[in-house]
Subunit: 319 residues, 4 copies
């Protein structure tokens, strides 16, 4: 193996650039040549590929988004798309790849490996919804952004004794809601992984205000419903001075936190180690503070599990 390629795919996440830097620097340190592939698998197929130097990744560690850009490219699920990508790999003499992204990225990485080009996947998504890793690259930053917004919303909620339904991202996973809810001291957390009783939530809010609480913050995972819909439901159970807020896409951007940078740096270097050992078709994870890898095939058979102990913890602390 002499040349590796790097691409980012799917939704962007803070820390992707730190991961790209780590892969590139580690590979160069091992004597490899490194190529950046713009716009994910679309750019691979289009040959939007350039050689990186150490400087290409300088001062990228603390930037949000992905400077290799990302794009949807469903065509890569088809063999034709894959073969076009492989043509480009041949053209540039690239032997192996690191792919940073979510589900779709793993599928692409697996296909390339099957075609004889070892590819390793890194979990880059704010949703924390990937199996075999406790944390994905970007989750800690999105969590920080959500909690910062919740802190601000609480100021205004307390000033007016208001209820706020705050919708956070996470697709089908409740991780961002659970963590941000506990960290922000929310009155209630609503996630797809747990049934909820809106009548009970309304009663708890009323009781809270009667007991001197100044705010009623409900953190709602987008996987359940929209904040507007939830608010409409809630208002059926009480005459609240209440507002709906959807935090939106700012959760996807921003300067990555120290944790995300370290996680990305560790995972990126480890991916290069795996490629150097001649391995492919693998997904890197961080489990119990240890860096690990699993076959991508295993990931497809496993589901991500949110830390639901946070749900119960919040119940006892919110009173």
């Amino acid at each position: 193996m002499k040349r590796i390629g790097i691409l980012t795919s799917g939704g962007d996440a803070p820390g992707m650039n730190a991961a790209v830097r780590s892969v590139a620097r580690k590979a160069m340190d091992a004597g490899l040549e490194v190529f950046g592939i713009n716009y994910g698998f679309a750019g691979l197929v289009a040959g939007d590929i350039f050689q990186m130097t150490s400087e290409t990744v300088a001062d990228r560690i603390n930037t949000g988004g992905t400077f290799l850009y990302s794009a949807r490219y469903p065509e890569f699920a088809q063999v034709e798309g894959q073969l076009k990508g492989i043509e480009q790999l041949k053209k540039f003499g690239i032997d192996a790849l690191v792919v940073i992204g979510g589900d779709g990225s793993y599928h692409g990485a697996l296909r390339l490996t099957e075609h004889g080009y070892n590819a390793v996947g890194l979990p880059g998504t704010i949703d924390n919804d990937i199996p075999y890793t406790d944390f994905t690259i970007g989750f800690d930053t999105a969590l920080t952004t959500a909690v910062d917004a919740l802190d601000k919303i609480r100021d205004t909620a307390s000033s007016h004794q208001r209820v706020f339904v705050v919708e956070v991202m996470g697709r089908d996973a409740g991780d961002l809601a659970l963590w941000s809810g506990v960290a922000a001291g929310a009155e209630a957390i609503v996630v797809p992984e747990k049934d909820y009783d809106i009548k009970q939530i309304a009663e708890d809010l009323k009781k809270g205000f009667e007991n001197g609480k100044k705010h009623g913050i409900i953190v709602l995972a987008e996987g359940v419903m929209s904040s507007e819909d939830f608010l409409a439901e809630l208002k059926k159970h009480g005459d609240f001075d209440a507002r709906a807020n959807t935090l939106g896409h700012m959760q996807r951007g921003g300067v990555p936190t120290a944790r995300d940078r370290v996680l990305a740096s560790k995972m990126g270097a480890y991916a290069v180690d795996l490629l150097l050992e001649g391995q492919g078709g693998l997904a890197v994870g961080m489990e119990n503070n240890q860096i690990t890898h699993h076959s991508i095939l295993d990931l497809f058979d496993e589901k991500h599990h949110a830390d639901l102990s946070l749900y119960d913890l919040n119940k006892s602390l919110a009173k």
Copy 2:
């Protein structure tokens, strides 16, 4: 004058607590006794009033919201409401007041002055929509929050070459949109004070992407329309990968910026000076970096003017 009262009214704004601290400390330094009135004019009428010490306002300078709480209380527009409030002032021996808030606060302050209780108003609102002051308490913090969110949104916009319509607060005023749009390097700013041509905006966006721009950020003042509605309009003029974002109530909270704290501190101390001189019915402002005051009556005759030079500036810099 021996005793003064302080209340906050209308929507909360970061820096209100710094203003309350300044009024209280300055008044105590001048030998006055100081009373906090909770929940604005509603609390005044209800007698929710307590004596403050220097410690009451300790470590409040850097907190968001208002620790004196706020509440809507339209009844204070009626003489009955006012007389009930004055009864409480008599009961607590309060001779004069400082009222921090927006429009409604000024009306209340004027009425109290007419009844023989000097009251001075401070402009506390994130909307920056008050005449005779260049900046209101809270505007700089809301601006900072909006720009921070816009920076994050730009990360993800650039990663995917997306258009974002980002709705910021400001009620009928475009200040927050103008300042945050320039500060964030937005592609377009849409405010109530200026006609806009959505077809032209769409064409500029297309041209921008053709010329290599990676993002298309439109900062929209809430006084124009909602981000969803604007997005729907925009999509009639081009097939954009576009999203709508409404920043929402987090713009009202948060740790006040240094500027807001200094502004609030200056205004609060100056209000006490005015009361010590036996003046009332006045609104404090910061004009051309000088602290000033005007009759509240004059404020009602004047309109706030946004700095529209920012609009033109942005047009030439966004290309």
Copy 3:
């Protein structure tokens, strides 16, 4: 057990208030009465103790420092001191305690347990230097503060092609230096756990600048030497445009990060669970993402181990 006490001891750390809140709320939820003890063991002995309500800990989760205050009190190492403390526990009817802090706190907790008052310790320190826990409460916030400062220093270093020796806290532990160094993309990390070769560092810096690097950031753990001393040494090996910076006590304060709040919340609730089971003399930890406890005696026999894989990782990524 009907009544528990909470105190914070030793150097303050962000997240201590979140831990106090968690202990208090969880204990109240279990039907216990909760007492706050001001100023650590000094306040215990002096009887500076007050009953907490749910409101006492409201809006504390996101505040820095410790609202129960802290104080050095070496007298508590003596039996006389301990007996005076126990007198106060009897007076207030307190059966058990949660102690949040570092080494000294654990000693105090152990002594109280030996006297028949179950006490559980939580690791509250920014230094991350406590055995049997991967992270201490406060470390993530201090890390965030250090990295934020390093990012800023890098801006000015890059503008002038300068070398900066930046001293971070950590007492005898290199954790803060290792994590912040990797997260900030430092050119070198110097920690007590690893020998360093200052001549080699100087040569690497020179080579870096020759290869186009714009900055030379050395993150130095305070346990090694001061930044001024290190700079003086470094200048013997090269004619650098270099500056020394000591980040100082701001590393101890600030709004706790989401991670620290969640960690503190989990640990606080778990400590109450242990006390409810009638256990004492224990230290709570977070090991491999699982919440754990160990005998405090075991802690005294064990040493904390920094994650030195970060040192090697940084070496390969800094080139």
Copy 4:
């Protein structure tokens, strides 16, 4: 005039990049060609000059430092240096310049104008020490950084009832100390523009602690003396638990605040307007919220005046 050059000189300041962007975009919008000059006057003389496109300044508005780099170059005070610079201007066909920086930059700009190359200076420095402008580019960001650090230090000061002497930058000017001291609610501010009585400060601190104050923060301008020296003096007047902190170079970096970005954008565009009118030898300012210009010669005759009303304001509020 067809081609203009831009350079940054002296100490870097946040917002310099926003100013460069504004100059470049505004000039391109007016049909000019724009050249970036790296490393200030040193780079001018060395011919380190490149043509800018709109993309060169994309996504620079929110970055710290100066991407055109800066360097000391005392040789430009000599005619030989200047003539060498002019040779390069001829070579690249550059007719006029915008120079962003402090004192030294203005001297250079004046010399170039005298040689027939119109040059306009923008005040880029965190020290706010330039006459004929209320604010310099970078001051608001440095203020924000200092206040953020002071907030953190206050957390730990309050936890331990400690005194902190915190040294902030500003060279001979007290602006940063005055503004940050008021914004942080400091107990005392010490600046070069005002005599101070250390015995009185010590007594005020003692009285403050007796009256229940939890912290004693002294904000010290670097122009007075170092924090260590001040602390040593202070300790002669009382047995304080006190620490010295020097905030250091992080005050020079960081993401520019919204205010600094808007100020830089306005000034940059205005400088281009002046050049388009055929003017040179001028310094741009922001006075009483109006953008202004003065002859650079006038600047050399005038002194900057700090807002000392802040000093008195703090005295009455700190009690």
